[in-house]
Symmetry: C2
Subunit: 210 residues, 2 copies
């Protein structure tokens, strides 16, 4: 634990269990990556993947200037899953169930010889099984793609997974329903592209999401 | 448009339509807020709400140091919705459909006389209809709650909502399925708290999510 990862609010929600961190990272699909540009904070959504203790970041939106940095960049990365809405008997006690990881570190460009491995991790994270269904990347494609990596060394994980705080003596109105509404992300009906033969069966990478 | 909101990558995905921004903010449930602490970037997930051009931020996780700032703080706020996975015929062309807003500005504490209004906006954003189902906040609760606000003045919005890029002459293998798998967030079965009478009907704020 470092100064940056010490929890100052609700420290009882913190966890050091790497399995919790890994499950969160494997389940979430978007990371929010913050860095400092000319003294000002900037945060951008990015695709990511993981291999062991290495986190790979791949710019999917407006990340041009960010990824152009060849020298590496101090970043903070947040990965958050909202698991439910917590309906208490007051607005004050209302809450959310979530899992959240906040990382700190220096993101550096993935070395050329490692780039294919990193892109495989990002692709397989978003679309498990897809890598082997499609053709290999060309050398040109690999050269045109920037991936950053940072180690999962400095990280704080918080989890809230509980009903509303309540006890018999809290004086709250019991005629008000209280509880949790879980939230899940689900896949809808796949929509084939215009040039995809309608008789082509859905690939495993798609059916495994349904 | 400012230097910070000019899109450097895929500018054709940008939109200035305020309706797109407002729909994204109303639909998303978590904002990622970045700021600079001792020269280093920090990003945290936060609950938020909106009233017209005002964005309200309410710390739900580890935001202690952040919210303690009485002087206001330069922030960048990202709100992202992942709408689908785009399966192309190569890993290189694979993508995601998303809507993403990145804001910049100075977040300042909401004035005491405005705090109830701001908390109502945050509560109603996460749980529409809940505010009027529960008792009013007490003065003590209001005093114990910190909310920040910033104007929606400096913002860039990006949208990708399309199938995989393809054309008849692209030379890709048509025996590979290509298309989009839409992603949605759905509510699961409500779980009442131990002190909630099982005969109590679900409130409107819950049934409207199902």
């Amino acid at each position: 634990m470092t100064e940056r990862t010490r929890l100052t609010r609700k420290p009882e929600r913190g966890t050091d269990d790497p399995a919790v961190l890994h499950r969160l990272l494997d389940e979430a699909r978007v990371a929010h990556v913050a860095f400092v540009r000319r003294g000002c904070p900037v945060v951008l959504p990015m695709a990511f993947g993981r291999d062991g203790n290495r986190l790979f970041l791949h710019g999917s939106t407006g990340a041009g200037a960010f990824l152009a940095s060849g020298q590496g960049l101090e970043v903070s990365v947040a990965v958050t899953l909202l698991d439910g809405l917590v309906f208490a008997r007051s607005a004050f006690d209302s809450s959310m169930n979530y899992r959240s990881a906040v990382l700190f570190g220096r993101a550096v460009p993935v070395a050329a010889e490692d780039k294919e491995h990193a892109l495989r991790a990002v692709t397989e994270h978003l679309m498990p099984g897809r890598w082997d269904e499609v053709r290999p990347l060309t050398g040109k494609e690999l050269a045109a793609t920037a991936v950053l990596e940072l180690p999962l060394d400095e990280v704080s994980v918080k989890v809230r997974a509980a009903g509303p705080g309540e006890d018999r003596g809290d004086g709250e109105d019991r005629s008000v329903w209280a509880g949790v509404v879980p939230l899940h992300t689900v896949a809808g009906i796949p929509e084939r592209s215009p040039l995809t033969d309608p008789t082509l069966p859905l690939p495993r990478s798609v059916t495994s999401l349904l």
